[in-house]
């Protein structure tokens, strides 16, 4: 459970707040996504919820952040280890550098938590399997591709079984298969009752997987709601977020009356196919909308 109330934060060298009056909650079994432009405070928010900001960064904070009921201002970072997992944006910053193989790297967190050896094996192998890393288990983390390192960084946190999981763009370097593995893993976490806060730029899977989407703009939450609502908002680009092509196509089609009236703009393939299927059916029946008036002049971008 994550609870953030009236939270503002300024970095020690910052001239303006990185976060302003942020308030939201994420419940267990909920996947809440955070989207927004570059430098709008998303990674800072990830740090706040995982306790590294301001404990490690310094700076001035106002407001309350509670994780599983504990006030983070009064909880030392060591008290959160194993309970809150943070997957950092750049896997290179996360890989310990102290271990010689992928398997040992995944074991590293468990060693530090003092997990018995036989239990370690039972926890590590399924994580390797789920993230498609079994084939590279004996390689050095530094011999992996960027995408594989990203999966390793995720695995090294998953294996500690945190009850709150914060991921800062975990799929940025992943191919479609890796992306699917990560979202499958997140789905399983949710079922297990984990609270998930996910910062993400790639919208298609997010649109299907997220229960709720928060938009951060210049350190403030400017919108929050179900993905179908937030990701179809016409202000999305102004907020620095690329809309899905499905939404763009439907919005342009709607301007030419080629998207069904009253149907919300789609953020998934299914919804787009349903809406455009209706349009095609209507055209087939001979109802050409207002195309007769506008003809084929222009608007053929």
């Amino acid at each position: 459970m994550i609870e953030v109330k009236g939270f503002s934060f300024t970095y020690p060298t910052g001239s303006r707040p990185a976060l302003t009056d942020v308030a939201f909650e994420v419940a267990p079994r909920e996947l809440c996504a955070v989207v927004g432009g570059g430098g709008t405070g998303k990674s800072t928010l990830a740090g706040v919820v995982s306790g590294t900001v301001p404990h490690l960064t310094g700076g001035t904070a106002e407001g309350v952040v509670r994780v599983n009921g504990r006030d983070l201002a009064e909880t030392p970072l060591s008290g959160l280890v194993g309970e809150v997992g943070l997957v950092m944006q750049n896997p290179f910053n996360q890989i310990s550098g102290a271990r010689f193989s992928v398997r040992e790297e995944i074991a590293f967190g468990l060693e530090n938590l003092g997990v018995p050896r036989d239990e370690m094996a039972a926890r590590i192998d399924p994580v390797l399997e789920d993230l498609g890393l079994t084939g590279v288990r004996d390689r050095s983390p530094y011999e992996l591709s960027g995408g594989q390192q990203q999966l390793l960084a995720i695995g090294s946190i998953l294996v500690m079984r945190p009850t709150v999981m914060v991921l800062d763009e975990p799929t940025s370097q992943l191919d479609a298969a890796g992306n699917a593995l990560v979202f499958d893993a997140l789905g399983t976490l949710k079922e297990q009752g984990v609270t998930v806060l996910l910062i993400e730029h790639r919208m298609e899977r997010l649109a299907r997987a997220a229960d709720r989407v928060l938009v951060l703009d210049r350190g403030a939450i400017v919108a929050q709601g179900p993905p179908g609502e937030v990701l179809a908002d016409e202000r999305l680009e102004e907020w620095g977020v690329s809309p899905l092509r499905y939404t763009v196509a439907a919005r342009r089609a709607a301007a030419r009356r080629l998207w069904p009236d009253r149907k919300p703009l789609p953020v998934t393939l299914d919804a787009a196919a349903e809406g455009f299927g209706e349009t095609a059916g209507r055209l087939y029946r001979g109802d050409r909308g207002d195309r007769g008036d506008r003809g084929d002049r222009g608007d053929r971008r």
Partner: protein
Amino acid sequence: MIIRIDSLTFRYPNGTTALDGVSFGVGAGERVAIVGANGAGKSTLARHLVGIERPASGTVEIDGRPTDRLGIAELARTVGFVFQNPDDQLHAASVVKEVGFGPRNLRFPAARRAELVESALRRTGLTAARDTHPHHLSLGERKRVALASVLAMDTPVVVLDEPTTGQDHASIVLLGNLVDSLAADGRTVLAITHDMDFCVEHFDRVIVLANGRVAWDGPVVDWPAHVADTADESLELPQMTRLGRRLGWAGPVTTVAGFLERLPAEAGPAPVPPGG
């Protein structure tokens, strides 16, 4: 051909074969996207173009000269490489110093240097951040600093490793325009990308790498059909291609513009196969 790769094979010291007989050529002004699974050899291939790696066998020729006979400095005049991780590349105390580093090392005259730096900052949307320390920028901004520092070297070939990663909407639009304008100026752009929509909107040609080999090489319009024919799970069709297929349209659709152009003509009651 500004780039000519012939039977390139490369093994890492641990014995892993990263590239296995790769051959292709790229002409001036071409926009080529290199796609494929994580670990397929994409970044290793890119590293050969700038001479960071040298071929175990086979040849890599840049502008008619094999890279193993060119010094790094000479290669740097021809091929600009923007790393996947900007922190592998950035070192100066301000954005403008970072961007000026390359042209200074290439000993361009001061006036040309200033012009190249300003133009690179403008094209990457960093003019306002010129005096900022790169450490105080977001990852997406640092990636654009790395890109600007390569643009300022005015190389005929620009290689981008995952350019859209971590970028917000305005920056992705800017990057797309940049790829188009570099090619229009006759410069060659190679980009490694997982962003298939970006790929179909801004590139002419796609090369698919799989297990260190060229699995497919052809014009971007033909590429969706290839992906559909293979069961390669690492590749994802562009959104509009999947929508067109779901609606039962024949032939490829890749972009929003292409989709909307065909929509009025697709007047059949579309079959909607589940999960298709």
